[in-house]
């Protein structure tokens, strides 16, 4: 009985807690493991890749830990009953397994790598019933500007999307390198000045998702987050209308004050946005010192023109 006491003391709370799975979830915040609780096909695919890889890697983990503990215990020096072969140091058969095992595992994972990397290529459009919506995201110190060129509106630190509708997000930066990610939807892609990168995402459930810059960018980095709202089509149209009727256009002066460093910026909706603003933000880095006035943008300069250069890097 004496031996049993200690394990019991350890096990008791676990047993009690085990009565309610909810207790575990609440205590350890397991419902916050957003990588597993996905809200879109990209993130779901990534979760599956990770879980599959983890399972395959167990074929490495279990033998390594198992053999290590077993041999470490069994061949301890004071266990004199063991076979002791101080000069044994080679076995072709064993070494064939030692090389062959890892090679086999890596072959499987290499296949997973190629297939998943092509499938998850951020530049690859997502196939869905609904037509994709274009979003242009510009990273600034320290907030995100989202432009909806199809609707002529823009927003700061808040973006909306209709559910089950693919997003084609073009990214650039008006400052240093930023990493755009909405964890529950999937991939992260860098936003870099003078260049355009692209990311396709889709939400297959409604909700409010946390989004952030993941690449350290200075003092306001920690606050540089935004809300991504996945809405029904009707609610999304309502959101667009709300922006259009906000009465606050993103004009030259609004842009100039917005691009100045600022922290903890509350969401803003803009009723209109100049054509080609995204291309202009890239262009100003490409041609010179970044001080060209906004009205100098050629009206025919589109993001795709400049993207030719941006993507080539």
């Amino acid at each position: 009985m004496r031996r049993l006491r200690v394990p019991l003391i350890v096990a008791l709370p676990l047993l009690l807690g085990g009565c309610s799975a909810q207790w575990f979830i609440d205590t350890f915040y397991l419902n916050e493991l957003v990588t597993f609780f996905t809200a879109g096909p990209v993130a779901a695919y990534q979760r599956n890749v990770m879980l599959f890889t983890f399972m395959v890697m167990l074929f490495v983990l279990v033998p390594v830990v198992g053999f290590t503990l077993w041999f470490a215990w069994h061949y301890r020096a004071n266990n004199k009953k063991n076979t002791y072969t101080p000069n044994w140091h080679h076995s072709n058969l064993l070494e064939a397994f030692l090389w062959g095992g890892p090679i086999a595992i890596i072959l499987v994972l290499a296949l997973v790598t190629v297939v998943s990397t092509y499938d998850l290529d951020p530049y690859k459009p997502i196939e869905a019933e609904n037509d994709p919506i274009r979003v242009q995201a510009i990273a600034m110190d320290w907030k995100w500007l989202f432009i909806y060129p199809d609707y002529g509106v823009a927003s700061v630190n808040e973006m909306a999307m209709p559910v089950d509708t693919p997003l084609q997000i073009d990214l650039t930066s008006a400052s240093v390198m930023n990493g755009f990610m909405i964890p529950r939807l999937g991939s992260q892609v860098m936003a870099m000045s003078g260049m355009r990168t692209r990311l396709h995402l889709m939400a297959d459930e409604k909700g409010e998702f946390f989004g952030k810059n993941y690449q350290y960018s200075g003092d306001g980095f920690a606050d540089q987050r935004f809300t991504a709202e996945s809405l029904s089509q009707a609610d999304f149209d309502g959101w667009i209308d709300k922006a259009r009727s906000s009465g606050q256009p993103l004009d030259l002066s609004a842009y100039r004050s917005l691009v100045e460093p600022s922290r903890n910026v509350d969401p803003i909706l803009y009723s209109s946005v100049p054509d080609g603003l995204f291309g202009y933000v890239m262009h100003r880095f490409q041609v010179g010192d970044g001080k060209i006035p906004l009205d100098a943008v050629p009206s025919d300069l589109t993001a795709d023109d400049i993207a030719q250069h941006g993507h080539a890097h």
């Binding site: 063991n82 072969t85 870099m192």
Partner: protein, 692 residues
Amino acid sequence: MFGKLTLDAFHHSSMIIVFANVIMIGTGLAVVAALTYYRKWGYLYREWFTTVDHKKIGVIYIVIALIFLLRGFIDAAMVRAQQASAGPGMDGYLEAAHFAELFTGHGTMMIFFMAMPFLVGLMNIAIPLQIGARDVSFPLLNAISVWLTAAAGALVMISLLVGSFSEAGWSGYTPFSGLAHSPGPGVDYWIWALQISGISTTLTGVNFVTTILKKRAPGMTLMRMPMFTWTVLCTSILIVVSFPALTAALALLALDRSVGTHFFTSIMGGDQMLYINMFWLWGHPEVYILVLPAFGIFSEVVTTYCNKRLFGYTSMVWATMAIAFLSFGVWVHHFYTMGQDPLRNSIFGIATMVIAIPTGVKIYDWIWTMFRGRIEYKLPMLWTLGFLITFVMGGMSGVLLAIPGADYKMHNSLFLVAHFHNVLIPGTMFGLLAGFYYWFPKVFGFRLDEKWGRHSFWGWLVGFYVAFVPLYMLGIMGMPRRMVTYDNPAWHFWLVIAAIGAIIVAYGIFAMFMQIYVSWRDREKNADLTGDPWGGRTLEWSIPSPPPEYNFAVVPEVRDRDAFMEMKVNDWAYQRPSAYEDIHMPKSTPLAIVIAALSFVFGFAYVWHIWWLAGLCVLGTVAAVIVRSFNDETEFVIPAAEVEADEDAFHRRLQDADVFEHMKDIKEYGDERTPNGEFIEPTTRATSGVPG
């Protein structure tokens, strides 16, 4: 006159930094006062500042590493404390800029001023002894290396007092580290600290490639070299090939910042991605520079404490070479998210995973070395077991991150931070500590205390899990790295646990320093009189502890991989020649500290744009080298009689310790027996080069 340096540079708004400066300056003054009081300056100058002896240089490296282990850990603890005290409705105690200095300083110091010097210190101590050499190929260059590292470390230290350190992360990504976004002196301090220590490391690489290829004892063919020597050879080659990429990247960044060029800026055609490519073209091999020698240490430890030959030596050698080669083909995996096409990402993903194959083989080889061994649980063996079990987790998360599709999701999250700590702490840190305990008696002549060592081990091991499993959880929860504040209660819960882990690690570090103190106090009791405290298998254990300046009275002859074990088994260990010969050794010289001091002043002057002073330092360095080149008497002679007297004393100690009686047991011990006591014919001996 003083460039950009004004009194403002001494003004610190944070009381924490003021306090840190008081501690730093106070400690410095106390050390200076103690040295003066005990009249140790002359001794220090003669025996340490001017020495070219590889063993003493190794000790200096490790002292530097231990100082920066403390500083780097304090930074880590402050980061943990900030993130644990921030959270929903709480801002913690640090400003964003100070927090950024801390995570930048932590990474920079732990890589460049803790892990690298520790590693190079162990290389310095063990390599010449393992290959039966009397010193490295270029002893003076070696001294210049160590003092350059000290100079670079001093630059990091002085940034605490004058100005501030970089806030751009240890990798200094452009364009953030450019002048437009980081106008202060911090990035310049970071550049010159890395540049000077990088030059030091490059010189070390050159020195050790040459030493290992040219100075091995007769009979030690490449395939008879101890595993540690092999891994250091690979690491030295990696250093020589990869560090120029870092040197070039930092030089161009320095030009961007001080001359106004546009290599890496956002504008005027600068390419920010070029810097990131160049940095990781060095940075990824650097990971293997750090971990390969640790692998070598584990190989030495496993064979010694299992009392057994290394299983799969040939596999190990090829695996090491394969890792070294492949490490140059994987750098893109640090930035899969920068918009490359899937073909490029797939290629680099697979290349990354392929490294897991030789790494896995090495792990299995250690495990199978334990098979049918007699495992003694001395401290280094504990570190090795801790490594084996913990490292495999880090390898797993590494393979996960190697898949671009998965990395798109985990990049820049705390999952990544957990991963690289999970490979570097068990892989490198545990290896360095194992090597530290393993070779300590060789250098100082007394063993380290076991009890405090065990406390240290469990502190590190338990602390590691408590500190880093939460970071894996947080990464899966989507938390980015480097956040000074946040408002998610789930993150707060796990960050508090991680902070508790840091406290446990702190106990491990405290126990290590206690161990050093207690062992020094009881050094008579722990003395190693025979030079072979562990029943060693390689040549360093065949000479006294501490070794004489010339290491080997007679250059040994090597007939097997485990050269010294073969001597013991075949009864020709400790054989004495009919006559000893005079030994020529290099003389001490102050040149190294002169060059290092000038480099330090140069770096400081460049940071503050004091151009006349920087120019003077360059001229001074050139002049010092020219003056030295006229010195023809760089060697001195240790007469044969003195060598013979040393050896007489050593052999009296061996007699007193009954070593020669014990040798018969070793011979017996070396036979292979089944549990029933039946003798097994040692069939494998013929192939391993032991003469019949």
